[in-house]
């Protein structure tokens, strides 16, 4: 149960179906990660979701060059493991950039 809705998540807490995501779920997941979402957070979440829909794999380096936020800024928004936290809140799968 997230934000009063039954949502399918995997063992690491990532949403299984992005279609189940909405803003309230994002807010709830952010709370769990002790993050207070500001407009800059939302900009990045929108960007991550856009890339996911275009099936473009996400990496910290790619976000750093996206113009949305630089890497330093990314770590300020999501201090601990930013890509993993941000993708979880955005409701998209954990990036497979680590092989």
């Amino acid at each position: 149960m997230i934000a009063g809705k039954t949502i399918a998540v995997n063992e690491e807490g990532y949403l299984i179906n992005f279609s189940q995501w909405d803003r309230t779920i994002g807010e709830e997941l952010a709370k769990e990660a002790s993050i207070n979402l500001t407009p800059s957070h939302w900009n990045l979440i929108n960007y991550i979701q856009g890339e996911y829909k275009k099936e473009i794999p996400l990496t910290i380096r790619r976000i750093g060059k996206s113009g949305v936020v630089d890497i330093k800024g990314l770590y300020q928004l999501f201090p601990m493991a930013p890509l993993k936290t941000a993708t979880k809140i955005a409701g998209v799968p954990k990036p497979a950039s680590c092989i």
């Binding site: 493991a81 950039s97 680590c98 092989i99």
Partner: protein, 396 residues
């Protein structure tokens, strides 16, 4: 690929040309052992020419640019060659300049890498008379070539200093941007246990921002600081600059390709193999070897206007040296994580998966011979197939 294809193509219709700017071919898995004086530098180098089949042209020059729209390769000396099919195998290189201060005053004084022949040799010279202190083994960012190599380096360092009778003078810390010792959870558990056993501490989720050369410290984006006396880092890995110049790569200069057929996503007559390809497989030598068997068949399909039905499954097979003449063996692909079981024969082995053994170490050592005498010559290793075998393995 030249060794595979020259036997399969009609010589009246097809000419194969290999272009390489280097004179020498290095046995790259040996770079791990060189710093510990376990291999001599000479054992790791052979002239490339030796491995080019007689009926294959060899152009020992630098390429300036691939002009894919015109099916043409332009050389640095101004010559130009056209092609019907191009296989890109430009590999991956280190790019220490990507991190502020990494390629600074301390480079090859207290900051080393072992991913190049020169780097591994410089590190060997340093380790020969290093008096001890804080050794940090570090991965800058993923993906890197041979993701297990830095772990193996830490294990071998433990064993090296023990044999020198100075282990108590050395603190070893393993620093990674990942959340654990390895990229796959099952193997991570086994490997973290080994790190603990060998008294190697691990710092995970460390995303380096810069190296402070005066302080001898690494600082991450979150402000964490790690001091070192000797830093052995795996710098950012990037594909060849040629790929960037040719407009064929992603932001790390790797060629986006179909992960099953290895065909470029941009040009149908370009294929990418090994580290040069941007696919979600490990950048490991075994991957390139397995891919070669599949790509050979797909090139033949392509020539005959048939669908590219051979599919690479992401198979990787790595020996992980754990020190003291023991090693682990892992086998995995796109779908399956490293598993326990036996290899290559179901139930018989003789190699055991995900378990430390002397037999696995012997396998790793024997691999140098296999590499020079079989892999480069395009010979199939008996009983080891390009696609991962499922029998004899215990899937969770």
């Amino acid at each position: 690929m030249a060794n595979h294809l020259h036997n399969k193509l009609n010589k009246k219709e097809w000419a194969i040309t290999v272009m390489d700017e280097r004179k020498n071919h290095y046995y790259q898995p040996g770079f791990l052992f060189l710093p510990f004086d376990l291999y001599t530098p000479e054992a790791l180098v052979q002239p490339i020419q030796k491995f080019i089949p007689r009926d294959v042209n060899f152009i020992n020059e630098s390429i300036e640019k691939i002009i894919a729209g015109e099916n043409r390769v332009e050389m640095a000396n101004g010559k130009s060659y056209s092609y019907d099919i191009l296989i890109v195998a430009t590999g991956t290189n280190i790019a220490p300049e990507e991190v502020e201060g990494m390629h600074g005053d301390e480079w090859e004084k207290s900051v080393f890498n072992f991913y190049t022949f020169e780097g591994a040799l410089a590190l060997r010279n340093k380790l020969r008379d290093w008096q001890g202190g804080h050794l940090v083994v570090h991965i800058t960012e993923m993906p890197i070539k041979c993701p297990v190599a830095p772990l193996e380096f830490a294990f071998l360092a433990d064993s090296f200093f023990k044999h020198k009778g100075m282990r108590e003078k050395v603190n070893i810390t393993y620093v990674t941007p990942l959340s654990g010792a390895f990229t796959k959870p099952t193997a991570t558990k086994a490997l973290e246990h080994l790190l603990g056993e060998k008294n190697i501490s691990i710092i995970s989720d460390f995303a380096i921002e810069r190296v402070d050369n005066d302080k001898k410290a690494m600082i991450d984006y979150g402000g964490k600081e790690i001091l070192f006396d000797l830093l052995v880092t795996v710098p950012t890995n990037k594909g060849d600059k040629l790929i960037e110049r040719s407009g064929l790569g992603d932001e790390l200069n790797y060629v986006p390709a179909n992960k099953a057929t290895l065909q470029s996503l941009q040009y149908e007559n370009i294929f990418a193999i090994g580290d040069a390809a941007a696919i979600p497989a490990s950048k490991a030598g075994s991957v390139a070897h397995f891919e070669a068997e599949i790509l050979t068949k797909n090139i033949l399909h392509y020539i005959h206007n048939e669908p590219l039905t051979e599919e690479f499954d992401g198979h990787a097979n790595c020996f992980i040296e754990t020190g003291n003449r023991r090693a682990l063996l892992i086998d995995f692909n796109y779908a399956h994580e490293p598993v326990t079981g036996t290899f290559p024969f179901a139930g018989l082995g003789p190699l055991e998966l995900l378990k430390e053994s002397h037999m696995n170490h012997l396998g790793k050592i024997a691999f140098k011979w296999i590499y020079w005498h079989m892999l480069l010559k395009g010979r199939h290793i008996p009983f080891v197939s390009g696609k991962m075998q499922e029998s004899g393995k215990e899937f969770v």
